[in-house]
């Protein structure tokens, strides 16, 4: 039953976004600008590009992710919908997980479009490591969405919410971003998963920690 509530909330967010296309389009445009600007700076296929790509990728994902996370709870407070959600006979941690799942899916949709574009623009030969790379990106995105959803719920009721969210989010998300960038870098530069394995374990560990802590704290964040 709680799973049904989580999926219902995520589906509602996806359907609503499908109608407005406000969040994903702004995330995509931002990502595209970042990738294209960096593409002007570096020679495609060079060693330098391979060293820089992990950083460029995660800069694009996190900054575009912030745009999506900022909007996530704005939709809920607009017509008082957050109050409507909180009144439902569902544990508030399930509401958090539903919103988190929606944010995670939006970020993954953006990544599915932007990563092939990066491969082409930067002339990267990473087909042999595409599966472990996908795993790292999914784990990094999950952790980022986990912390970001909680902090988005905190910042939405403040006047300077657009500024407050990144200020709160980046310091807390450092373990996730550090592990994600290091794992991506090891994988792309070494061409094998061996060196990235320890970073992937750290990333998965932080995902679990952030998911559990955020779902427990959400109740206190939304309560008066």
């Amino acid at each position: 039953m709680p799973i049904k509530a989580i999926l219902t909330i995520a589906w509602k967010d996806i359907l609503s976004e499908f109608r407005s296309r406000e969040t994903i389009s702004s995330m995509l445009i931002f990502c595209l600008i970042v990738v294209v600007i960096f593409n002007f700076m570096f020679e495609p296929g060079s060693t330098l590009v391979r060293q820089m790509v992990p950083g460029i990728l995660w800069v694009a994902i996190t900054f575009a992710g912030i745009l999506g996370l900022n909007r996530s709870f704005i939709y809920e407070v607009d017509q008082g919908c957050l109050l409507g959600l909180l009144l439902c006979p569902v544990d508030h941690s399930m509401l958090y997980l539903g919103k988190m799942l929606g944010n995670f899916i939006f970020m993954v949709i953006m990544e599915v479009i932007i990563i092939p574009l990066m491969i082409v623009l930067f002339n990267l030969d990473i087909l042999s490591i595409i599966l472990p790379l996908a795993l790292i990106i999914l784990l990094g995105t999950l952790g980022f969405a986990a912390v970001g959803t909680l902090l988005s719920a905190i910042s939405v009721n403040t006047r300077a919410r657009e500024i407050l969210l990144p200020i709160l989010l980046f310091p807390i998300a450092i373990p996730i971003l550090l592990a994600a960038v290091k794992a991506t870098g090891s994988l792309i530069n070494e061409g094998t998963i061996a060196d990235a394995r320890s970073w992937i374990k750290i990333l998965a560990g932080f995902d679990i920690i952030f998911l559990v802590i955020s779902s427990l704290l959400f109740e206190y964040v939304v309560e008066d």
Partner: protein, 234 residues
């Protein structure tokens, strides 16, 4: 049905509610009136389990509200001055969403029935953002009534509505009064409140300063009493 005992709510050193005692029985329709900041919305939020009291207790149908929140929420329909509706979903999708969140059986049948009741069945496939204020309020009532709740909480439901929407609202709401149901409404509209309710409570600075049955008082006396007890504030 609802028993509120010695309830207080403080935010730091500020008391939003202090020593509230109310006993509300099935079939009662209570209005809570008071100036802005008197604590009306806070009281409704505590009854709806959205806020924890600092002290005191609320007992709803024999259940302490802080002990079984999910069970209490299942019994409550809440209508505020905001619609709680998603603008980018249709009327039907909004109600489907909430029916799934309430794990409602026979949702499709119930949604059709309730949309017909509020006169929105022919607009069920339209996006809520295309609805007028009055239509959104009617849909908001449908949302709150989906589960056929036995406690209905109304927080300033007339805010932003024109006279015709208010008339529709009253007509719809008069049909909801039943011996098995409790309705509690906060409002600034003393006349409408008195017209609809069976009981009233005047809240001032977080305290209930007067409570009585509405048939014990006429409008002009009610207005005088309100001014006297709240210092004439709106």
């Amino acid at each position: 049905m609802i028993k509120i005992e010695d309830l207080s709510k403080s935010f730091g050193s500020f008391y939003a509610l202090r020593d509230i005692n109310l006993e509300i029985n099935s079939g009662d329709f209570w209005i809570i009136v008071g100036p802005n900041g008197a604590g009306k919305t806070t009281l409704l939020k505590i009854i709806a389990t959205l806020s924890q009291p600092s002290s005191g207790s609320i007992n709803i149908n024999g259940i302490l509200s802080n002990k079984n929140k999910l069970n209490i929420r299942r019994q409550i329909g809440f209508i505020g001055h905001q619609s709680f509706l998603y603008n980018n979903l249709t009327a039907e999708e909004n109600l489907k969403f909430y029916s799934q969140m309430y794990y409602l059986n026979n949702a499709t049948q119930r949604i059709d029935e309730i949309l017909k009741r509020v006169g929105l069945w022919d607009r069920k496939s339209d996006l809520v953002r295309t609805f007028s204020c009055g239509m959104q309020q009617r849909l908001s009532i449908s949302r709150a009534l989906l589960t056929d709740p036995n406690i209905i909480l109304l927080d300033e439901p007339f805010s932003g509505l024109d006279q015709s929407a208010i008339d529709n609202f009253i007509q719809l709401f008069s049909s909801l009064i039943s011996p098995d149901r409790v309705i509690i409404m906060t409002t600034h509209n003393l006349q409408l409140g008195l017209q609809l309710a069976t009981h009233f409570a005047i809240l001032s600075k977080g305290r209930i300063v007067h409570k009585d049955q509405t048939n014990m008082i006429d409008l002009s006396r009610f207005k005088d009493l309100y001014k006297e007890l709240t210092g004439g504030a709106n």
